[in-house]
């Protein structure tokens, strides 16, 4: 999916001894949205926006190490070894040794001679790397101005973490004119360094304005056209995490030091084998306990009591992403955790006083096929006709934000219809649920509406799996396997054929092995991901398991 932006100039942070000017350059192709004010709580804002930056650059995907240098050396060494073997046989070892000494001297001299060149080359590559660093950022953050707060949202590069920083107007003073709306802002890595220089003893002006602070020096580029080709999976991930926010969840508060403790365990230990999950053990009236697999380390959050009604154990994965919260520990009053269920997104809302920071984590860090077919977060929740949807959206847009109840009262519609409509708008990326305040907000992610038809499923097999499931043509049996996993087997009736499929799900809830009788599997095995029958089987099995919002 290609997005085009036109920024007027770049976002700049001008640091002077007496103050800091933060000027974010919005997308000029969108409805004018602007805001200006002076920060009152500079330090907290600095820490929060730095955490947001951490979300933007977060990429925990596995990156294989570059071993080419070693392999080259090893090949050379192997040749030498073979030479030696041969030499010993022929009895000319001494001669070879002499030659080798000479050779290594030549090598050494050559590498010494090349050293300045290599060093300069490396320096140049480093320079290029730094220079093109802005190309790393997948999508510039989105900024939204609302009557009660300004908020930034972003999504990480590895398509797994969502960050939202809401700053209410209490954080600012001398607020100028503003216009509500959503826009994309120009963002670069250099900005992060400048954020670090925000201090409380310097006034910090904050501005989202196409015209910027000062008259730009003549001759600089006026407009910066940016074209970003976003993978569909990225957009889908964003929408999935977003729509998950509006779902009912298990909620409890954590003391800042509890989050510190969670991070502490992770900093002190390194997992070498799975499962790499974190279990939240919730017992009504008791402190929340968190158990880290596979070590079994238990963190008891003694200053938190769980207020839910039933005892539950919820497993979540991708725990290293919690390190994003580290910078917020000193300034947070508390963290509210929202858990949707096993393998589903989880949310951590940091209460920073007048600001709030929401970290949304998808079910796994790697959103690949091995976890596909777990849950369909973009499935329509309730049948609502287009007219009602339109009415609800217009009604919400009147005030920009509202609770479902107030909206229902205002529009005279049932709460169910309102929720269904708002769910649909959230899935389409045009509204969002604010976990911190419990309200729905208008937030149009993109200028043009997103093509929802292509976004709901990542491939046609997922779509067919959903169709098979709704047609009730799946039967499955599950049995526990060694190592905490599950073995699923069953039949799927697809038109005139009935396929037998089976799959093994490991302790990390990933598909590790699968078979099916269908042609797709026979031809591709698992190289192109699971077939629709395996997905249907998995979805069928998942339906039977407890899911919080089902």
């Amino acid at each position: 999916m290609e997005f085009q932006y036109a920024f007027k100039g770049s976002s700049t942070v001008a640091n002077r001894p007496e103050g800091t000017d933060l000027s974010f350059s919005p997308d000029t192709k969108r409805e004018p949205t602007y805001f200006s004010g002076e920060l009152r709580k500079g330090i907290a804002f600095r820490e929060a926006i730095s955490a947001l930056h951490d979300v933007v650059v977060s990429d925990l995907r596995f990156k294989p190490k570059d071993k080419s240098g070693y392999k080259e050396w090893a090949a050379k060494q192997e040749a030498i070894d073979w030479d030696q073997v041969a030499a010993q046989r022929a009895g000319v070892a001494t001669q070879i040794k002499e030659m080798q000494a000479k050779l290594s001297a030549i090598y050494r001299r050559s590498s010494e001679r090349r050293a300045p060149f290599d060093k300069a080359k490396q320096a140049y590559f480093d320079y290029l790397y730094q220079k093109d660093r802005d190309a790393w950022f997948v999508l510039d953050p989105v900024i939204t101005v609302h009557p009660d707060e300004v908020f930034f949202e972003c999504f990480s590069q590895d398509e797994s973490s969502y960050g939202r920083l809401g700053t209410s107007y209490e954080v600012f003073r001398n607020i100028g004119e503003f216009a509500c709306g959503t826009t994309n802002i120009d963002y670069s890595s250099a900005l992060y360094d400048e954020f670090q220089k925000i201090r409380s003893y310097k006034t910090t002006k904050f501005q989202v304005d196409p015209s910027g602070f000062d008259v730009r020096t003549q001759g600089e580029e006026d407009y910066k056209e940016v074209k970003i080709d976003l993978p569909d999976s990225w957009v889908r991930g964003f929408l999935q995490v977003n729509s998950a926010m509006g779902l009912p969840a298990r909620t409890f508060d954590l003391h800042p030091m509890d989050v510190h403790n969670l991070c502490f365990v992770l900093r002190r230990h390194k997992e070498k084998k799975g499962p790499r999950s974190m279990r939240f053990i919730l017992t009504p009236g008791k402190p929340v306990r968190v158990v880290f697999d596979p070590w079994g380390i238990e963190v008891v959050c003694r200053r938190t009591e769980y207020h839910g009604t039933t005892a539950e154990e919820i497993r979540v994965w991708g725990r290293r992403r919690l390190h994003i919260l580290e910078r917020l520990i000193p300034i947070a009053k508390k963290f509210t955790v929202h858990l949707l269920g096993q393998g589903l997104p989880s949310f951590y809302v940091a209460d920073l006083g007048d600001m709030s920071f929401t970290l949304g984590l998808s079910g796994w860090t790697a959103n690949d096929w091995s976890t596909a077919g777990n849950f369909d977060l973009l499935a329509p929740r309730a049948e609502v006709d287009d007219y009602t949807k339109r009415r609800v959206f217009d009604g919400l847009k009147e005030k920009w934000l509202d609770t479902p109840d107030d909206l229902a009262k205002r529009l005279g519609l049932s709460r169910a219809a309102i929720l269904g409509a708002l769910g649909a708008w959230t899935q389409a990326g045009r509204a969002m649920y604010d976990l911190a305040k419990g309200v729905y907000r208008v937030r149009e992610l993109t200028r043009e509406p997103l093509p929802m038809a292509t976004l709901r499923f990542s491939n046609e097999r997922e779509e067919s799996a959903t169709r098979l499931l709704t047609a009730n043509s799946v039967q499955s049996t599950a049995r526990a396997s060694e190592g905490g996993g599950v073995e699923l087997s069953g039949t799927v009736k697809d038109r005139s054929h009935t396929y037998r499929a089976s799959l093994t799900i490991d302790a990390d809830a990933r598909i590790t092995r699968a078979t099916c009788e269908c042609n797709f599997f026979q031809q591709n095995k698992l190289f192109k991901g699971p077939c629709e029958h395996m997905l249907a089987l998995r979805m069928h099995d998942a339906r039977r398991r407890p899911v919080v919002f089902s």
């Binding site: 300045p116 670090q196 510190h260 403790n261 502490f264 000193p330």
Partner: protein, 1040 residues
């Protein structure tokens, strides 16, 4: 914090280069700390401290010495005494089965005819159940009928007519489905007479006759009927054509018909193609031949093409037969046998059949001794050209011997005709292509003996050989035809002069050799034919040319008077001909008349040259300019314009050359001609254009500043380079024009996307040749150049920055920006501005120190040395300035800031500096700030309150900053115990920390809380203290 003493240690071993710096600092009265930094040489250093809490001097000294000793023991040496790191050595500068033997078996034609006649006369049952027993004829009747036609047996006519409509079988094998009638109609066409016309007419007119029978009957009728009825027949068919074609066919103009047929959708009316062959008038034939040459061999056109092929065979129409044969040889089948797709014609089986059939027709003709063999074979050979040749190949053969395939190996009939009796080529049984017999290899010179099939037939019909020599564009065909022609001396002796000239003009050695043989016979030294000499001198046969040069030298006087001969020599295709012409012309003087005539002829010949003959053109032009100089000036401007418009560079060069000479005579050249020359795609021509431009008066050049700018930014390097002297001249004498050019070039650097290498050229011009124009460039332009994306513009900006801008013209912010510029010279300019404007820097230290945060290492390094210098003292580095420096996010800048702090720190600034440092987000600075806690925050509850966020931040670090945490806890213990308000501030923080799972810090938090509680019992604790319960130890076994 004051630095008391410092030791720098270094460690070198192998590839390891490390440093270890140890400081002993005073943080308060008799309070000292020992800090250290370590890491890779030149890299960012890590901080640490050996003293969690400040200690007394003697204790600090002990810690310091111990650390130094331990490091020295592990291999570190003092940096001041260490040997310098081994300087990197500076890199040095060097851095077939033999074809049926043709005509060898003498066959009595009569006997053969007799057999055919006998078979035709033998009627009765065609069913041959028991072949041997009944003695029934084993030769199918239809075959005999066809043979009668092939052999042209006139006597068979009544028998054939009698056989019409006699087939009773429903099987094609037995002559059913019109097979017999079809064969009869075909045979009658070849051997019939008056009677046949009637019979065929009846067959054609009979409604019951099948389509293919009718078609072939019509063909035979066309062969046998008189011209009048044929015309009537054709007129009738023209009437039946679709309207647009009908009109065009009647127009009598082949071009009109060709256009009409081109526009006609033949594939929708496939029948028309066959109709056109029936019509076959001089008007329609060229377009028809074109159409069959390009119609796709697919449905629906393939079927009519097949009909046409059969008709051509009957008519012995060599042209059409040859074209079809060529199409079949060069067009791949639409599918392989066994993979038939529905509705698809022309598969591999069909193609194979057709290829074999073409040779079969020829072979039968040859075996029958029919003179039409030569005609049809020539028709088959003619469409092949050298472009049809494939790459010679070598494939692995049996027993490891490679098999070689020559350039024309894939063509079936082609090879049979040319190499039927060859010692070099053979077609193996079932082979698809002709292989080479060992030891022959592709590319060798052909043997002197003849290799073709039916050589006798060719000799009987040498006109076909002559046709091949005149029309073919295929080397092997010429090799064959030349050899064959030489075997017909009588025919050669009879040849007209034009034909001999034609033979000599062909670009094939074999053919030209025939011409040479004839020319040698006909040469008469007394009355030499100059035309023949000219043709021979320009021929493709080298010995012939050598002979011709000798003869011309002998007849020099005559030759020099003959402009036609001279022109032929100058424009000779072979290089030695042209060299001879040059030698001849150089060594003699031409009369003016002949010279002008020659120039005229040559110009005309050059203009007529095709685009591929550039070498020839270049040679001819060179000959003209060296030997005919005196005759060139007369060429008119119109001709020059024509020459310049010619696509060949050689011809254009002549035009430019003529233009130069023209100029020298009259001094007036139209401006458009100069531009035409300058825009030529050829370098040499443009060079002439530059010369022309250079010869213009300087004032005129100076007035063309836009043209000059365009030349400087031209994509062609030669134009750019040639324009440089012009620029230099203009720049020296015309200041106004120079300024305009400078402005224009700068503009082009900034605005336009220039071709590769152009920006560097423009930069060179501006840097070296237009230096004097720099003064007029204003500040804004320079700033634009500096902030442009192009590196060349940036470099120019750097140069102009140094020369045009005074240090005070830019404000400090701008200079600081320049210090992060990508171009070194710009950064250097920024440094020098700082150095020259010291007073301003000192007056605005708070802003000026931001240069320390520059993006480039060299800028930062310079800045460190600059601010370390003696010109800066404690008065300049106020607390605010120092904090401004340490605010940087770069480790090295922070380290430098700490160095400055230690050097220039003023105690009076202490409290504010501490407060400001405490807001820094980096761990190193947070750690650094702990050194000031003791001195500037102790005993000040108001300060304590402000520092709380700092303490929270330090204590919340996850698994990091042990020393800082310890120091903070120590400090809090001290402060909390001091008074109640302080304790009330500290206790909640400790309570918060107590929630950690880190055993160490939970214990510390509780311990500090308890200590405060002990010191100030009135302060309430948020924790409840359980009284100690003594549990009696369990009794050991055996005790009572």
């Amino acid at each position: 914090m004051k630095l008391v003493k410092q030791t720098k240690l270094v460690f070198h071993e192998g590839r390891s280069d490390k440093v270890y710096e140890i400081d002993l600092c005073e943080v308060g009265t008799n309070q000292f700390v020992v800090n250290f930094r370590y890491g890779k040489l030149g890299g960012p250093l890590k901080d640490g401290s050996k003293t969690v809490a400040p200690v007394k001097r003697d204790e600090a000294d002990r810690v310091f010495d111990k650390l130094v000793r331990s490091k020295v023991d592990s291999g570190y040496v003092d940096a001041s005494t260490a040997r310098p790191a081994a300087a990197a050595p500076v890199p040095t500068a060097r851095a077939a089965a033999p074809p049926p033997a043709p005509g060898t078996v003498p066959v009595s034609r009569d006997a053969r005819a007799q057999k055919v006649l006998e078979r035709l006369a033998q009627t009765g049952s065609d069913r041959r159940w028991f072949r041997g027993a009944t003695g029934a004829p084993t030769w199918p009747l239809e075959r005999a009928i066809w043979r009668a036609g092939e052999l042209g047996i006139k006597e068979a006519e009544p028998l054939l007519i009698a056989l019409i409509n006699t087939a009773t079988s429903t099987d094609v094998e037995g002559g059913g489905k019109g097979m017999r009638d079809y064969c009869i109609a075909w045979a009658l066409g070849r051997c019939g007479g008056e009677a046949s016309v009637r019979a065929l007419g009846a067959l054609y007119g009979d409604r019951r006759s099948l389509g293919h029978v009718k078609r072939i009957a019509a063909e035979s009728l066309l062969l046998l009927s008189d011209a009048a009825s044929n015309d009537e027949f054709k007129a009738h068919h023209i009437d039946a054509l679709p309207a647009p074609l009908k009109a065009a066919a009647r127009s009598g103009k082949p071009e009109t018909f060709a256009t009409a047929l081109d526009a006609f959708p033949l594939h929708q009316h496939a029948d028309v193609l066959h109709e056109l062959y029936l019509i076959d008038t001089p008007t329609t034939r060229p377009a028809f031949l074109d159409a069959i040459g390009k119609s796709p061999l697919r449905a629906p056109l393939f079927q009519p093409l097949r009909y046409i092929f059969k008709a051509a065979e009957l008519r012995r129409d060599a042209r059409v037969f040859g074209i079809f044969g060529y199409r079949v040889e060069t067009t791949a089948a639409n599918y392989q046998r066994g993979y038939r797709r529905s509705q698809e014609a022309y598969g591999s089986a069909t193609r194979s059949y057709l290829r074999r059939r073409i040779w079969r027709v020829l072979r039968r003709l040859g075996q029958a001794g029919d003179p039409d063999y030569a005609k049809l074979a020539a028709g088959v050979l003619l469409p092949f050209t050298d472009a049809d040749a494939v790459e010679p190949r070598e494939t692995p053969g049996s027993r490891g011997r490679p098999v070689h395939w020559d350039r024309f190996a894939p063509f079936h009939a082609f090879n049979y005709i040319l190499y039927g009796n060859s010692q070099r080529y053979e077609l193996k049984r079932n082979g698809k292509a002709w292989r080479m017999k060992s030891p022959h290899r592709p590319g060798a010179t052909p043997p002197p003996e003849r290799e073709e099939s039916f050589p006798g037939l060719w000799e009987r019909y040498p006109a076909a050989l002559m046709q091949l020599c005149a029309e073919s564009a295929c080397t092997p065909v010429h090799e064959f035809a030349g050899k064959a022609l030489l075997a017909c001396p009588a025919f050669l002796a009879e040849l007209e002069l034009d034909d001999v000239l034609l033979l000599l003009s062909r670009p094939y050695d074999a053919t030209a050799r025939v011409g040479f043989v004839i020319a040698k016979q006909r040469y008469d030294a007394a009355r030499p034919n100059m035309q023949l000499l000219g043709a021979l001198a320009a021929s493709a046969h080298q010995p012939g040319r050598a002979q011709a040069f000798t003869w011309i030298d002998e007849q020099r006087a005559l030759a020099l008077a003959d402009s036609g001969l001279l022109a032929a020599l100058v424009m000779g295709r072979a290089a030695d001909t042209r060299a001879f012409a040059k030698r001849l012309l150089r060594s003699s003087t031409l009369p003016a008349q002949v010279g002008q005539l020659l120039v005229g002829r040559l110009v005309a010949a050059l203009l007529a040259l095709p685009e591929t003959d550039n070498e020839l053109a270049m040679d001819a032009v060179q000959t003209m300019s060296t030997t005919l100089a005196s005759h060139l000036a007369t060429v008119s401007v119109t001709v020059i314009r024509d020459l310049l418009a010619h696509p060949l560079s050689g011809v254009q060069e002549l035009g430019a050359e003529l233009l130069l000479r023209h100029d020298s005579r009259s001094g007036l050249i139209p401006a458009d001609l100069i531009l035409a020359v300058l825009h030529s795609p050829h370098e040499n021509v443009r060079a002439v254009g530059m010369r022309l431009l250079g010869e213009l008066p300087e004032a005129a050049i100076a007035s063309m500043d836009q043209l000059l700018i365009r030349l400087c930014t031209d994509a062609n390097a030669d134009i750019r380079n040639a324009s440089r002297p012009l620029i230099v001249r203009v720049a020296a004498n015309f200041p106004d024009a120079r300024d305009k050019i400078v402005a224009g070039l700068i503009d082009s650097l900034l605005r336009r996307k220039l071709a590769e290498d152009v920006p560097s050229h423009v930069l060179r011009l501006l840097k070296d040749d237009l230096v004097r124009g720099h003064a007029k460039v204003d500040k804004d332009t320079i700033w634009r150049l500096l902030s442009s994306g192009s590196p060349h513009a940036q470099e120019l900006g750097g140069i102009l920055l140094a020369s045009n801008i005074k240090p005070d013209a830019l404000d400090l912010d701008q200079i600081i920006k320049l210090a992060s510029h990508e171009i070194l010279s710009v950064r250097q300019a920024a440094w020098s501005m700082y150095e020259h404007d010291l007073a301003r820097v000192q007056a605005n230290m708070a802003s000026a120190v931001r240069i320390l945060d520059a993006k480039w290492d060299d800028s930062r390094q310079w800045a460190y040395n600059f601010f370390r210098g003696p010109k800066f003292s404690r008065t300049h580095f106020t607390g605010e300035v120092l904090v401004g420096v340490i605010d940087s996010v770069r480790d090295d800048v922070q380290a430098f800031a700490r160095e400055l702090l230690q050097k220039h720190f003023d105690e009076a600034d202490g409290p504010t500096v501490l407060l400001k440092l405490s807001e820094h987000p980096s761990r190193a600075v947070q750690m650094f700030a702990t050194n000031y806690l003791e001195r500037f925050a102790a005993g000040k509850p108001d300060k304590l309150d402000k520092l709380m966020p700092y303490f929270t931040s330090v204590l919340s670090r996850v698994n990091q900053g042990r020393i800082a945490k310890h120091r903070v806890l120590e400090f809090l213990k001290l402060e909390g115990s001091r008074d109640v308000p302080s304790a009330n501030v500290v206790i909640p923080l400790l309570f918060r920390l107590a929630a950690t799972i880190s055993i160490e810090y939970r214990a510390s938090a509780l311990e500090v809380m308890m200590a405060i509680h002990r010191a100030r019992p009135e302060v309430a604790l948020p924790v409840r203290i359980k009284p100690l319960r003594v549990v009696a130890p369990a009794r050991a076994a055996g005790e009572p």
